[in-house]
């Protein structure tokens, strides 16, 4: 199924939790923040939040800035 991840259309195996999605992309969950369909997902909710077909997910982290 397709989702939009950080603006790009990507294929994933099927509906999965935010935790599983981060693990799939080898992203350390402690270093990022996740938005699911425009709503920020609390870290404690990564295991329960399900990403489904056509959902929009943003995964951000801190980079250098002023």
């Amino acid at each position: 199924m397709q989702i939009r991840l950080n603006g790009e259309l990507v294929d994933i195996a099927g509906p999965m939790t935010v935790s599983a999605l981060l693990a799939h992309y080898a992203i350390d969950p402690r270093r990022v923040a996740v938005e699911h369909n425009l709503v920020v997902v609390k870290r404690a909710a990564y295991d329960e939040t399900l990403v489904k077909e056509d959902d929009e997910v943003e995964v951000v982290n801190f980079v250098g800035g002023g």
Partner: protein, 262 residues
């Protein structure tokens, strides 16, 4: 006990210098520059994780979170909605509700869109954020931000990254006199004297990135900025002499050799 503490929203900081984490040639130089600056607050930007390339180390691997307070910014946002969205993501990533709020209105100058900034400040304050908005050196804009609940206001000294120094000293002085919340001069510093000037004008703090990161020797410049901010603050508190057009001799005018005794 520090006789002149720097307090924002009830939190006391050791240094009045806030530094950025952008534009450094390497993380190693950044770490050394941060150390030399004496700063305890560092700004960071919020950006998408690179999904396709996970090999790059995270910048956070190089910043000791027990030593530095991370202040996420909303740099690059051109609407209140985007800035609010970015601030909320930054809060989740950093687990702190502080934000350096930027809503940019013009690409070439990176001047703030004060109308959108005010809207975003109101929304984020309501959402429990400690908001530090980057704004113009404009008294009315600063007062409106203070009234909207900003924990400090951050007027620019000059355009971001320009290194032009404090362009409107009078405005900075007027803004400081009119506000009750801390005023941090953000952007425009080029070299140490610019930072000293900002502090001499009464700024409670100075925020800079490019002036240090872009210097030929960022570590040395970071130390220069630390000393300049301290010197400028001390001079402000010491109370400078008034400016006069003509000379006033420092040495006694009586008792000069070769003059007739009167």
């Amino acid at each position: 006990m520090n006789a002149d503490p720097f307090v924002i929203a009830g939190r006391t900081f050791r240094s009045r210098l806030i530094v950025g984490t952008g534009k450094y040639a390497s993380n190693d130089i950044m770490v050394k520059a941060h150390e030399a600056s004496g700063a305890d607050v560092v700004t960071v930007a919020v950006r998408r994780v690179n999904i396709s390339d996970r090999t790059k180390p995270s910048m956070l691997d190089f910043i000791d979170a027990s030593r530095y307070f991370l202040l996420p910014n909303t740099a690059g946002c051109y609407t209140a909605a985007d800035a609010i969205r970015t601030a909320r993501l930054g809060r989740e990533a950093g687990l702190s509700s502080w934000v350096k709020l930027e809503v940019i209105g013009d690409e070439r100058t990176l001047f703030p869109d004060n109308e959108a900034l005010l809207e975003a400040t109101r929304a984020l304050v309501k959402d429990g954020f400690v908001v530090l908005p980057y704004t113009s050196d404009d008294l009315i804009a600063c007062k409106k931000l203070q009234d909207a609940g900003a924990a400090a206001v951050m007027p620019l000294g000059a355009p971001i990254g320009s290194g032009l120094g404090i362009q409107n000293r009078n405005n900075i002085e007027i803004i400081r006199e009119a506000l009750t919340v801390p005023m941090i001069v953000d952007a425009g510093v080029g070299t140490a004297s610019d930072a000293a000037v900002a502090m001499e004008l009464g700024a409670d703090g100075v925020l800079m990135n490019t002036a240090i990161a872009g210097a030929a020797d960022p570590v040395a410049m970071a130390e220069a900025m630390k000393l300049a901010v301290e010197a400028g603050r001390l001079a402000f508190r010491a109370g400078r002499i008034p400016r006069k057009r003509y000379a006033s001799a420092s040495s006694p005018v009586e008792g000069l050799v070769g003059t007739p005794r009167t």
